[in-house]
C-alpha cells in the first residue's frame, strides 16, 4: 500500500522539541507544497496538534528520505543533531502506519485517552490537504476508513464516557443541576486560567450571562470583554451572589472569599433555587460549611480531580475493547489495499505476458518462411503461444494470491518487480 507516517509526539519528545515542530493550520499548505516540490506525485496529509506533528504520505519511501522530511517538518531549524532527531521522530510504514492512524483518530494514542478533539483535528488536517490538492485515492480511502473506525470506537465503547478535565467537569456538574444553561447566570470569581477554561466550556454549552469579579478590576474587565460578560467590582460579590446560578471561584487569596452566611442569604433570596459552586482555588475560596446549606452544591478541586481520575480509569478499561475495533478496521484496510495491489500486479502480469507473446508472434509470423501460412494456421500458432505464456505465469499468479491472503504481498511484489522489471510505483499507485 506504500503509505507511511513520519512524526513526533508526546511519546517521543518533550514539549521543547514538539513546539519546534508545531505547525499552525495556516502554515500547512505551504509546507505541503515544499514537500510536494521534492516528492512529485506524493500524497500528503499533515496533522499538527499540541501533542503531535505527523506527516502521512503515500508514494514516498520515507525511510530513505526521512532526514529531508525531518528538516522540512522542523521548518529548517538546525538546532538538533541527526541522532537526536532519530530519537524524537518515528517512522512507520504500510500496515504499521495505518494502525497508527486508526489509533490516533480513535483517540487511543492521545495523552488523555478518549478525548474527542483529536478526531476533529484529523478531519481538519485532511480537509486542508485536500483543498491544497495533496490527497489522492490512497490517503483519502485510508483516512475515511480511519474515521469510520473512530466513530465505531466512540459509539461502541466507553472510551469517551465521563469528562476528565477540571473545566469540562464543571459543565458536567452544571448539567446535573440545571436543564438549560442558556438561561443561567455564571459568576467567575478571580480571572484565573482554569476558571476561564471552565467558563469557556459552560459558554460552549449555552451559558450567556456572565459576571466577572476580580480583585484587579482591569483584568476582570479583560476577561468580561473576551467572553461578552459584565465586570463587577469585587466588593459587590455578596450583593450579586444571589443572582448567580453557577459560581466558579479561583482567586489566589490566602483566606476564604465566599462565606457560608453570604451563601445562606443568597439561597434565601433565591427561594431555594439550586446554586452550583465550583471552587478550584488552593487554598479554598468558598467556605466548606456552605456545602451543608440546602440546595447549594459545592465542589472543590479535589472532588473534580477525584472524578477525573475515576473517569480516566473507566476509559482505560474500555481501551482493550477499542483496540479490537481498531484491529478489525486494520484488517479491512489490509484487505482493501492488498486486494487492490494484487489486482494491479495480476493486471501487470497479464499485460506483460500479452506484450511478450504479441511481440514474438509479430516477429515470427513476419518471417518469409511463415509468410505463406494460411490464416487458420497462423491463428493456431497465436493461440498456442498465448497458452504457453498463460501456463508459465499461472503458478506465479497463484503464489501472489496466496501471499496476499497471508498479508505478505509487499515482499512478493518487490521480487516480482525485480524479476519482471515492473515499475514498483506503477503497481502501488
Amino acid at each position: 500500500m506504500n503509505v507511511a507516517v513520519i512524526g513526533i509526539s508526546y511519546h517521543t519528545a518533550p514539549v521543547e522539541v514538539r513546539e519546534r515542530a508545531s505547525i499552525r493550520p495556516s502554515e500547512v499548505p505551504a509546507i505541503l507544497q515544499r514537500i510536494r516540490a521534492q516528492f512529485p506525485g506524493a500524497e500528503l496529509v499533515l496533522v499538527s496538534t499540541c501533542n503531535r506533528t505527523e506527516l502521512y504520505t503515500a508514494g514516498i519511501d520515507v525511510n530513505a528520505d526521512k532526514h529531508r522530511l525531518f528538516q522540512i517538518l522542523l521548518k529548517g531549524d538546525e538546532h538538533f543533531r541527526a541522532d537526536e532527531l532519530e530519537n524524537h521522530f518515528y517512522v512507520k510504514s504500510d500496515l504499521d502506519a495505518a494502525e497508527h492512524m486508526l489509533a490516533v483518530a480513535s483517540s487511543l494514542d492521545a495523552m488523555v485517552v478518549g478525548e474527542s478533539e483529536i478526531l476533529g483535528q484529523v478531519k481538519q488536517a485532511l480537509g486542508i490537504a485536500d483543498e491544497a490538492g495533496m490527497t489522492g485515492k490512497v490517503l483519502q480511502s485510508l483516512f475515511q476508513r480511519a474515521f469510520k473506525t473512530a466513530k465505531r470506537v466512540h459509539s461502541e465503547t466507553d472510551i469517551c464516557r465521563g469528562r476528565v478535565s477540571v473545566s469540562s467537569l464543571a459543565v458536567e456538574f452544571a448539567e446535573k443541576v440545571f436543564d438549560d444553561l442558556s438561561t443561567k447566570t455564571v459568576m467567575i470569581v478571580g480571572a484565573g486560567e482554569t476558571a476561564e477554561l471552565a467558563l469557556k466550556s459552560l459558554m460552549d454549552r449555552g451559558a450567556r450571562d456572565v459576571l466577572v469579579l476580580n480583585r484587579s478590576h482591569g483584568r476582570g474587565q479583560d476577561l468580561a470583554e473576551r467572553c461578552g460578560g459584565r465586570a463587577i467590582q469585587f466588593d459587590l460579590l455578596e450583593d450579586y451572589l444571589a443572582r448567580a446560578d453557577i459560581v466558579i471561584s479561583s482567586t489566589s487569596a490566602p483566606h476564604l472569599v465566599i462565606h457560608a452566611a453570604a451563601v445562606q442569604r443568597a439561597i434565601d433570596i433565591r427561594r431555594g433555587k439550586p446554586m452550583l459552586m465550583v471552587d478550584i482555588a488552593v487554598p479554598r475560596d468558598i467556605d466548606p460549611a456552605a456545602a451543608h446549606i440546602k440546595n447549594v452544591y459545592v465542589y472543590s478541586i479535589d472532588d473534580l480531580q477525584l472524578i477525573a481520575a475515576e473517569n480516566i480509569a473507566k476509559r482505560r478499561e474500555a481501551v482493550e475493547q477499542a483496540w479490537i475495533i481498531v484491529r478489525q478496521g486494520l484488517t479491512e484496510i489490509s484487505e482493501h489495499f492488498e486486494g487492490g495491489g494484487l489486482r494491479e500486479v495480476l493486471r501487470k502480469f497479464d499485460e506483460h505476458g500479452r506484450e511478450i507473446c504479441e511481440a514474438a508472434l509479430k516477429r515470427s509470423l513476419a518471417k518469409e518462411r511463415l509468410a505463406g501460412l494460411p490464416e487458420p494456421s497462423r491463428e493456431e500458432i497465436r493461440e498456442m503461444a498465448r497458452k504457453i505464456v498463460a501456463k508459465l505465469l499461472a503458478e506465479p499468479r497463484e503464489a501472489l494470491k496466496r501471499a496476499a491472503k497471508k498479508g505478505e504481498l509487499d515482499s512478493y511484489v518487490r521480487v516480482v518487480n525485480d524479476l519482471f522489471g515492473f515499475d514498483r510505483e506503477d503497481i502501488n499507485k
Binding site: 446535573k176 443541576v177 440545571f178 431555594g272 439550586p274 452544591y297
Partner: protein, 283 residues
C-alpha cells in the same frame, strides 16, 4: 372470563418485562433499554385497557369498583400521563422508577381479579364517568409529579454526598425534575378539583348524608386536595423551588396512596374496593 384473565396476565407480563428493562437501563446494564421498556409498557397498557373495556361490557357498568379495576385504572392513568409527557418532552431516567411502581400496582391488583363490585343505579351515568375519569387522571398526573420529586431527591442526595455513580449519570438534572413536578401538579390540582365537584353533585343526586360527607376516603381526598393546593400556592405566589418543595410532593404521594388504598385498610368506606361483597361500593 378465563381468557380475559390470561390476557390480563399477558398485559401485566409486559409491564414486568418493561420494568426489568427500565431498571437495567437506569442501572447502566442496558443503557439503551429505556425506549424498549416504554414500548413494552405501551403494549401492556393497550392490552389492559382492552381488558377493562371487556370487563365493563360484561358488568354493564363502569369497571372501576373492584381492586383489580382500580389498580389497573391507576396504573394506566400513570402510564398515560408519562406517555403524554414523554411525547411532549422525553426525559430519560424516569421510566426506571415509574414503570416498576406501576407494575407493583398491577401485581397487587391482579390477585383480586375475580372480585366484583358495583355502584347504586342512581349514580350510574356520565357524571360518574367524569368523576372517576378525573379522579384517576389526577392520581396518575400527581403520581408522575411525585415520582419526579422522588428522582429530584435522589439526585439531590447524589450531588450533596458526592455519589457520582451510575444513578448520578443516568438520572436527569434537578431543574428538569423540578420543572416536571411543578408543571404537573397544577394539572393534577385541576383534575382533582373537578372530580371532587362531580362527587358532590353525585352525593346530592343519591340524597346522601353524613355517611358520604364523613366517609374516610372523601376526607383523605380532601386532605390531599388541600396539600396540592398548598403546593400550587407555594409555586404560584412564592416561587419556591428545591428540596423542600420536592419533599412536599413526595409527602403528597404518601397522602394519595393513603386516600387511594390505605384508608380502606383502616376504616370502612362507601368507596371501598377492597372489602368487596360487604357492601356495594359508591363512586
Amino acid at each position: 372470563m378465563d381468557s380475559i384473565y390470561i390476557i390480563s396476565i399477558a398485559g401485566v407480563g409486559c409491564y414486568v418485562v418493561a420494568s426489568l428493562l427500565a431498571l437495567a437501563s437506569l442501572l447502566g446494564v442496558k443503557p439503551r433499554g429505556e425506549r424498549v421498556a416504554i414500548s413494552m409498557m405501551t403494549v401492556g397498557g393497550v392490552i389492559l385497557a382492552g381488558v377493562l373495556v371487556s370487563r365493563g361490557v360484561g358488568l354493564t357498568s363502569l369497571p372501576a369498583f373492584n381492586c383489580f379495576d382500580a389498580m389497573v385504572l391507576y396504573a394506566l392513568a400513570l402510564s398515560g400521563a408519562y406517555g403524554l409527557w414523554s411525547a411532549y418532552r422525553y426525559t430519560p431516567g424516569i421510566a426506571g422508577i415509574l414503570i416498576p411502581y406501576a407494575t407493583l400496582l398491577l401485581l397487587c391488583g391482579v390477585s383480586a381479579f375475580r372480585m366484583h363490585g358495583g355502584v347504586p343505579a342512581p349514580v350510574q351515568g356520565p357524571g360518574l364517568m367524569l368523576h372517576v375519569a378525573t379522579a384517576y387522571g389526577a392520581f396518575g398526573v400527581f403520581s408522575l409529579a411525585s415520582i419526579s420529586a422522588v428522582i429530584y431527591l435522589i439526585q439531590d442526595g447524589n450531588l450533596k454526598h458526592k455519589r457520582f455513580g451510575v444513578l448520578w449519570s443516568r438520572l436527569p438534572s434537578l431543574e428538569t425534575m423540578d420543572h416536571i413536578t411543578s408543571r404537573l401538579i397544577g394539572v393534577a390540582f385541576l383534575l382533582l378539583t373537578i372530580s371532587i365537584l362531580m362527587g358532590i353533585v353525585l352525593i346530592r343526586r343519591v340524597g346522601g348524608g353524613e355517611e358520604w360527607v364523613l366517609d374516610p376516603k372523601v376526607l383523605a381526598t380532601v386532605i390531599l386536595w388541600i396539600l396540592v393546593a398548598v403546593f400550587v400556592h407555594m409555586r404560584a405566589s412564592s416561587d419556591r423551588h428545591g428540596r423542600g418543595i420536592a419533599m412536599v410532593a413526595v409527602f403528597g404521594l404518601g397522602c394519595l396512596l393513603f386516600a387511594f388504598i390505605g384508608v380502606h385498610l383502616v376504616a370502612p368506606s362507601v368507596h371501598s374496593f377492597i372489602q368487596l361483597g360487604l357492601r356495594a361500593g359508591g363512586p
